[in-house]
Subunit: 593 residues, 2 copies
Amino acid sequence: MRNSNASRSGSRRSRSGGQHGQTKKGRPAGELRWVPLGGMGEIGKNLSFFEYGEEILVVDCGLKFPEEEMLGIDFVIPDAQYLVENRHRIQGIFLTHGHEDHIGGLPFILPKLDVPVYGTRLTLGLVENKLNEACPRYRPKLVEIRAGETTQAGSFSVQGISVCHSIPDSLGFAIRTPVGLVVHTGDFKLDATPIDGRITDYSAFAELGKEGVLLLLSDSTNVEREGFTASERTVGQTFEQLFRLYKDRRIVISTFASNLHRAQQVFQTAARYNRKVALVGRSMISYVELARKLGYVDAPDDLFISQQDIESTPPNRLVVLTTGSQGEPFSGLVLMSKGEHRQIRLGSKDLVVISATPIPGNEKLVSRTVNLLFACGAEVVYDRSQAIHVSGHASKEELKIILSLVRPKCFAAVHGEYRHQVRHVQLARELGVPAKQVFVLTNGDVLKLVDGKGQISGRVPSGSVLVDGVALGESEGSLLRERRELAEDGLIALSLVVDEQFRIASPISIESKGFLHCQDAKDLYREMEGAVRKALEPLAGHPETDPDSVPTLIRKKLRDVLSRYSRTYPTLIPLVTRLGQPTPTKGRKRSAA
Amino acid sequence: MRNSNASRSGSRRSRSGGQHGQTKKGRPAGELRWVPLGGMGEIGKNLSFFEYGEEILVVDCGLKFPEEEMLGIDFVIPDAQYLVENRHRIQGIFLTHGHEDHIGGLPFILPKLDVPVYGTRLTLGLVENKLNEACPRYRPKLVEIRAGETTQAGSFSVQGISVCHSIPDSLGFAIRTPVGLVVHTGDFKLDATPIDGRITDYSAFAELGKEGVLLLLSDSTNVEREGFTASERTVGQTFEQLFRLYKDRRIVISTFASNLHRAQQVFQTAARYNRKVALVGRSMISYVELARKLGYVDAPDDLFISQQDIESTPPNRLVVLTTGSQGEPFSGLVLMSKGEHRQIRLGSKDLVVISATPIPGNEKLVSRTVNLLFACGAEVVYDRSQAIHVSGHASKEELKIILSLVRPKCFAAVHGEYRHQVRHVQLARELGVPAKQVFVLTNGDVLKLVDGKGQISGRVPSGSVLVDGVALGESEGSLLRERRELAEDGLIALSLVVDEQFRIASPISIESKGFLHCQDAKDLYREMEGAVRKALEPLAGHPETDPDSVPTLIRKKLRDVLSRYSRTYPTLIPLVTRLGQPTPTKGRKRSAA
């Protein structure tokens, strides 16, 4: 698959660390190693593994969306080089839930490992869709597991623990190893009144605590939030109020396609208020379709109408459930807000509810969308003041409860930025985990567990793999730098032909992109051409000249000219062709001819 | 000055509107026009003017920082074309306060108008610094005004009203015109306990209300916030607590350089706790220097130490006041967080206080900086839970108070995004302004006031001027599109030489930027060269070929090759030189030779 082949970019630390992290055969028995390859110091691309003797057990395989400065990059996935080299030792990949940051890396990594993947029914359904799309010819080994059941994978025995999250059928794991018991919470919250009635299994955590837990890995996302995260049900109550208040309007609700609890509540409220539902947005349609097929969402067929019937349905009889809650370009809601959606025109008859809060980095996109929705004349409910969204992650008090139930010997904070990890281990210490036994790891760090004690020692090669439309190759660092320079200042390409004597033998062609065009700055271009001719004058009649020096000469002269017009410099690409000779100018392809 | 010459980009509406908005001599007496050229539907580049008969009065002249997608752009300023064309009619520019979004446009616009600028002492001091730097040879006419005093400018008489804001010496204006009284709040809050004791002049607003106000223009920034904005003094109390709590640590405080009230509180607290102060960051140093010179900040010389003495000062005896509260690259705090600051190394002995909240769009930069500060081992106070920052803008209840004091006939919401304007006029209606007399304008709209009634009618040419390192010229729209394409996918430039018969007469040179380099994809490059040769084969021996068609041919063939490697296409720049002929290929400079 095209995308799968992409480039590695490890921090210097992880690269150098790579060596002494390399796999050595036959690890000391009685030693368990836990190694995160993603998800440390970041919220995204979660992937970690356990290593005991010759056996490896992987938990999750996620992706991350690129940072602004990663120009043209589609996804970032963890560098799984170590796992690829040791694939014969992998007992399986266990998935906690079906969010992109936990399963999105599979299409790129799984075909290289080809090991069994364990997950709940919904999670595997999402994985199947994903793999069918990305690598249709690949046949993965998918094994369904259930909360409460235990699965043997080599000498690891893995028990699924039911946890609540913003996507159904999520799991934590209790992993029994010859060295001791590890508890991984996965992404969770302690919602006492979840929509599907499937609550986080406190008692399981309590029993594990009694059994004695060597290591707890716990979700750090909301450690900065005081108190408890509100129940998903509170959003349903807000929907109820809004449906009552705006009974004459058409109601457009935007949320995360994967938040099927939210969708379920929309469907129930719509049914109660005798409204039909239209689904908008590719991912919204496919998530709901899958969830209904697998029985995770309960809604009768006749509740739904097709997009074509939206405008012909009376406003007060319709709810539109759409993607775009993050202001994503080309998403359903954004197209509507710009008046560019084929089936929907928004106006004063509409109430738009953005049932989400912006993910950090999306604030501006969301804000822009809200302004456009107002400009359509729609009423918009979006501000945090109203309970139109709840987080899927546990807040401080919930994290305390898990810590006091599990009472681990060792603790490591997972799924968080650096500051979240630091705050979370501080919390663990306050709840009695010894200062020496709490750990903030970075991706690639190895946490060794021996005799009930943990220690960070050694590293495994790690880093980010940037997935682009085209495989970037090892040099992607420099490519991104070049893209940034092009983005800032544009470029000027010019070609000229010289004879063997370095006399200019043709007109000079100059073309610019993202920089003043010739027709807008004739003087500048005339000056530039003059400068190029001047640059070459001294060479005329000197066939011994090193051709590699010519572009450098030209760049220098052009800079002098540009410095009078601009504080910044476009990228300069002089292409010099020397007649009767191959053109071995640096950084250029020498013709095979 | 280089930057001043930049490009216009009006919305289609503003362009077309431009025509019938053009200045006509001799407006009907008894008609007042108010026209915003910036600050509507945006928080930034505030600039509006009043027009009565032949006379024009301008309020503020700000800039805005570019949106992400404005690649390589430094600032955005309002299109002041209309004012330039009518500069002889301008009676003066009145400045409400010294923030960039109110004075930052002056260096680009004022020299073209060369009219007197009115402002308070501090505001003019900041303007002077700005102009000295940007256009040293230009001598502006600066006229100092004071709160409470009235200034005659043509038939406009302008009374300054003291208002509290996040920069000292801010004004609102009461503008008396032959048609009626206009009140402009400027940026304000109703802080009852401001640091400088200079409170917002309620009674002035009350008296103006009694006098009878035709039009109120009021700050909409925080209309979405319930209640009242907290007093600046609350931040001082937090400082007090932090200084007591962390008495052994070095304290690093980061805030906006222009927030001199905040600086004053830092200085007072530092003095009380017997700590010296070191200023870090170019703008922090220059703002404090100016404010001390003009007497807006009260601090003895011996309170301050130079950056060189920072590391030699005992931690518990020092406060560092620095820029970087928005995570700006190369700002003081960001350099410290990366360990790249010359004079300061942060560590576990440090407490860092970020006394600001991220401006929308800066969230990620700030979050990254916080994580780096944690990684330095410093304790960091940044979250909203603690009162370490207050806004400079009035919240909902304060806006209500102004509305009920002023009781205007007409109301227009200024200084806000579209949704803020809508919410603010809704508020005005709730407080008794007739529905027909509340207005949401967009930049360029003309609000006509006749016989105590307002009406939006006609437009004035308006839009955004993008200021780049180099003047972009009118075509900047297309330039930005090109930059985006280059940023996403990079480019491939190639040059080849053909003879008059269109036979390839030289090796083909290919160079790429921001795209796979030759050494990383030899096959691809070999294929591309083959494709180019193939593209030209059929032309060989056909001198009648249209040279303009050649680059298009080449692009097409290259796309075919690339489509097998990539989902995305780099920008393709084929430079074809035809020997013995000028090279009239499209979009290229024809040689003068």
